[in-house]
């Protein structure tokens, strides 16, 4: 047994050494082969600027790109209206990513068998799967309809090709000639400086910001996810050089689901502001804040016991707020920081909030009613919270660092931590399972990776993407008598991320 362990260790060491050698060789090759970067498809075709002008690395915006976006996808050079473009110009880009990935999930409860028959018992096992796969397909179309009237339409599919509208909006820019007055209406990304829609990573857990999606274990509030595109109207204003930015949005509390089915009678406000500072050779530094304050339904009227879409009432409140910092240390190194304090009403904490099952593409399937197992809870009249129920609250932080070797090669490192500060099931909780452990649901995750663009032109983009993510969550796995139900999952991903 000891020998076997030694052999395993030697193999792991050998594998690690080989991997490191390959990485060093590969890094040397790509470092020595860096070529001049070119331009990004949809907007670069219009303006003739390289992608690196607007993106630290595509799709993450740099300061100039943020300003371009804030101006309504305009350079403000009096040639922004489509009338100045060749009539054949069509502002469309598609993006898709064929990948190989290896996903390893710890502590999955599996059936056990004896003599070919189920024993009726379970065991806990790590499941690791690997293979070639595909991302969804995005069609980005955006630009100006006229000077100071901009738009964006983004039909997006999952890997099976099922489409939904990820982003659709029209925007009135620079009303009365003032950059302080811009109005956007539709489904759009929230005004997060570190936008999840422009994230540089692609793995299942590393391809989102955990801080933007964290929900306590058992919580039924899906509406406070600031990483998702939301329906609403946004006011945005900025100084001429974009040093000062403010925005306020009124959103439907439906987490981007269509047809007024989910959370139809609740609204959420999202507010953001930031100020940039000139720090000489270090670059422009920016600090800001955001706050999301809203309410959403917990009771949906029912017919035959089945919740009726669009009938949500008994709104309860929730909030997310935090600080954002973008710190640059010259042209090669930067650190992006987001903090968050989140809080949900006690009703959400007990699993009420989204009684309508969504189909994952913005539609709903109203064929499920609580207390059927697996169906969301519905706060029907007479429902009472168990004694000891409390409003869950938590704190989170995201720290993402970049080393930008050149506009074509970026190394990414991200650390995120989500920590519960108050569990919904407090001391004396009389509901199922009793009080929660103070660390239940806590998340710690690391992501490292790099993106290398061997070439770019004003017609297409192509990146070799390599990434590793590790995520740890406390107490959410099956325990089956184990001392700990903590889960560790990891994913290694390699792929070609390209657009045209």
């Amino acid at each position: 047994m000891q020998a076997l362990r030694g052999l395993r260790l030697r193999n792991i060491f050998r594998f690690a050494t080989s991997l490191a050698s390959v990485a060093v060789v590969f890094a040397s090759v790509i470092l020595s082969c860096s070529q001049p970067a070119h331009a990004l498809p949809a907007f670069a075709r219009k303006y003739g600027l390289r992608c690196s002008a607007c993106h630290e690395s595509w799709p993450m915006l740099n300061y100039f790109g943020q300003k371009f976006k804030d101006n309504g996808y305009q350079l403000m050079n009096d040639r922004d209206a489509p009338i100045w473009q060749n009539p054949g110009y069509w502002p469309v880009t598609f993006r898709i990513t064929p990948i190989w990935h290896r996903v390893s999930t710890g502590k999955v409860e599996v059936d056990t068998y004896a003599g070919g028959l189920p024993t009726g018992n379970s065991a806990i096992q790590r499941i690791t799967s690997s293979g070639f796969d595909l991302s969804g397909l995005d069609f980005h179309t955006g630009g100006t309809l006229e000077k100071n009237i901009s738009f964006y339409v983004l039909p997006s599919s999952d890997p099976t090709g099922a489409f939904h509208f990820e982003q659709v909006f029209g925007r009135l820019d620079n009303l009365w000639g003032s950059p302080w007055l811009n109005i956007k209406l539709g489904r759009f990304e929230l005004d997060n400086l570190l936008s999840e829609k422009r994230i540089l990573t692609l793995t299942g857990n590393g391809g989102i910001y955990q801080t933007y999606h964290f929900i306590p274990v058992g919580d039924g509030n899906i509406f406070g996810q600031i990483g998702d595109n939301q329906f609403g109207i946004e006011y945005m204003g900025h100084s001429w050089n974009d040093r000062t930015r403010i925005s306020a949005s009124l959103l439907s509390s439906n987490d981007g689901n269509v047809n007024l089915s989910t959370g139809a009678n609740g609204y959420t406000g999202f507010f953001a502001g930031s100020q940039a500072f000139d720090a000489g050779r270090l670059g422009v530094q920016r600090v800001g804040f955001y706050a999301m304050v809203g309410e959403a339904a917990t009771y949906y009227l029912t017919a035959g016991g089945v919740p009726i879409g669009g009938s949500g009432i008994s709104n309860k409140s929730f909030s997310r707020e935090g600080f954002v910092g973008q710190f640059y240390f010259g042209p090669h190194v930067d650190v992006q920081v987001v903090t968050q304090h989140g809080s949900d009403n006690a009703w959400f904490g007990q699993g009420y909030g989204n009684a309508i099952l969504t189909d994952g593409n913005g539609g709903t399937t109203a064929t499920c009613s609580s207390p059927t197992p697996g169906c969301p809870l519905n706060n029907v009249p007479g429902t009472a919270l168990p004694a000891g129920s409390r409003a869950p609250s938590w704190n989170g932080v995201t720290v993402e660092t970049h080393y930008v070797y050149s506009p074509q090669l970026i190394f990414i490192n991200r650390f995120e931590a989500e920590r519960m500060s108050q569990q919904a099931n407090g001391p004396g909780y009389a509901g199922t399972g009793g009080p929660s452990a103070s660390n239940l649901g806590n998340i710690t995750t690391y992501t490292i990776g790099y993106r290398y663009n061997p070439f770019m032109t004003s017609r297409a983009g192509f990146a070799w993407h390599n990434e590793y993510n590790w995520l740890h969550q406390d107490g959410t796995g099956p325990s089956l008598g184990l001392s700990s139900a903590n889960i560790n999952t990891s994913e290694l991903l390699l792929g070609f991320d390209f657009d045209f």
Binding site: L49, R50, V284, P331
Partner: protein, 292 residues
Amino acid sequence: MGTQLRNWSLLLVAAAVCALPLPSLAQLTQLDLQSRIGTESHIGNITGHAKDAAAPYRRYCVGCHGPLGDGEGENAAWMDPPLLPKPRNFQLGIFKCRSTPTGTLPTDDDLFDSIARGFDRSSMPQWSTFTKQERADLVAWVKHFSPRWTNEKPGAPITIPPEPEVTPERIKAGRDVFARVQCWKCHGVLGQANGPSAATLTDDLGRPIAAYNFTEGSRPKCGDTDRDIYRIFMTGLDGTPMPSFADNIKPDEAWDLVFYLRTLMKQNSKEKQMARQLGLKPVDPNAPAGQQ
């Protein structure tokens, strides 16, 4: 077969011999640039260093202005003047927007302001997102492309007298200046860039170029304050058909012309209101001198 092989060999050798000087020329240029990498700029108390601007130049500028600053970046081919002017060739050391007399080099401040202001009706955006230090470094970088800065000093900025109070008389006097120095030949009598010479205009490199259309609402290339407009026609836009009128227009008359030009612009202004109240008519190209 042998003859064919010999012919191919000769062709290959000839091609190789012809190709030899190409990298050598490029290397020479790179060497020249390398020798000027110590170029500095001075903006107030900030000193810009060319060597520190290589990374931002590559990220933001090289696509149009090219690695050698010759305005031949990969996107230049798709810019179609006069609709979209070609990128500036920094190697020539000739710049439109200056505070210095025609024919002289601009000051560091001129280049510094140009980077942040950008140029309307071109692909050059307002690079106001840089820190002052980064912009100063880029100014030094721009300078290092041309040997002119090694051999010459920038001109002394022209003196602009204080702006007088605008009056109806001054606006009328400005119209006379507009007629006398024949601005209308390119810009048109209504400022619509449709004068008799407008269609034939080319820059110093022989590329088509458009006169400024005062009526379409865009900003003048070198700034839109009254002082900017004064400076534009008193220094001229080097490299373009727009000459300096410093020898033809006295400083006081120059302010009159500024006021008159304001009446042609789309943007509302007190000059425009005064012109409306006066019932001011456009210049008559056929009127005898001094009888507008």
